[in-house]
């Protein structure tokens, strides 16, 4: 049971380290997907991912405290 728990934690940990980074990334993708569904050209919606990811990554890095 402990091993299963560790495997599960490892699987989640593969995608989520800084919770805010993961949540903001999901919100960004949901936003651009909605925009594409509402008629924004797919390439424009996809292009928004580039600055969006940079901003999210930069903010996450700047938030991090020294360990």
């Amino acid at each position: 049971m402990k091993l299963l728990r560790q495997i599960w934690d490892e699987l989640v940990g593969m995608f989520v380290d800084d919770g805010a980074l993961a949540a903001q990334t999901v919100i960004l993708v949901a936003g651009v997907t909605l925009a594409a569904l509402l008629g924004l050209p797919a390439l424009w919606a996809a292009a928004v991912l580039i600055p969006g990811c940079l901003v999210i990554l930069g903010a996450s890095v700047m938030r991090a405290k020294k360990r």
Binding site: M14, A45, M62, A64, K66
Partner: protein, 242 residues
């Protein structure tokens, strides 16, 4: 001549798998040297068998998913996975979190195994340690191969990259017979984070229906932009210093 997409698929799978296999190798080596090679090899073999079973069960299911949905889902997972690696690599490069130390991981595992040596279940515990290390790192390798390979029908290239990494680590590890401490792990993780995030943006966009200008060459442009931004982030973070 390989396309930029095939080349980046092989490279990403190779580098990411190399890092993961080095970490698993450290633990298996600690078990083999401290306890004996029997539990180390049995634990590793059982984990590899379980990974193969998982791939055989779940692999064919991907063929049933429409390609745009698959590209979108894989793209989003790669974004989460790649940005996490990239963030950690930036923080390690700027000195905010310590570098991963294979020698320390080896010493920690060796110490634990020595303390368990008197236990009746010492062989079982040693085997479990090897099993867990290979399984947990192996799950990441399987994810990487499937993720970077499936969305563009390049699982073969991704598999070749990963298998090359496994063979290389085993050959080097067998020759030196100690943890591979000289591997520039953070530089590899930095590169992999950049590549996986680029793949993530590219495939999420394709999943949305975007035709990127220059097709696969967009991956190169994404790498340059992300690389420049990450280098800047390291400089800024070093300057902040707290």
């Amino acid at each position: 001549m390989l396309s930029p997409s095939a080349l980046s698929t092989i490279t990403a799978a190779f580098l990411a798998s190399f890092v993961e296999v080095v970490e698993a190798f450290t633990i298996v080596l600690a078990v083999g040297i401290t306890r004996s090679w029997r539990p180390a090899l049995i634990g590793s073999a059982l984990a590899l068998a379980l990974l193969v079973i998982l791939v055989l069960i779940f692999g064919p299911l991907f063929a049933l998913i429409p390609i745009h949905v698959l590209q979108f889902a894989v793209g989003v997972l790669l974004l989460l996975f790649g940005m996490r690696w990239l963030r950690k690599a930036i923080l390690r490069a700027s000195g905010f979190i310590p570098l991963h130390d294979e020698a320390m991981a080896f010493a920690k595992e060796t110490d634990l195994l020595k303390r368990q040596a008197a236990d009746k279940k010492a062989d079982y515990l040693a085997m479990a340690a090897a099993f867990k290390a290979v399984l947990l790192e192996g799950v990441e390798v399987v994810f990487i191969v499937i993720a970077v390979g499936t969305a563009h029908g390049m699982t073969f290239y991704a598999g070749v990259g990963a298998l090359t990494a496994v063979v290389l680590v085993l050959v080097i590890g067998t020759l030196v017979h100690k943890p591979l401490t000289q591997v520039p792990e953070n530089a590899l993780k930095f590169t992999v984070g950049l590549m996986l995030t680029s793949f993530g943006i590219f495939w999420t966009g394709e999943g949305l229906g975007a035709d990127w200008p220059g097709a696969d060459l967009t991956l190169v442009a994404l790498l340059v932009v992300l690389g420049g931004f990450s280098a800047l982030a390291v400089r800024v973070k070093r300057g902040v210093g707290t």
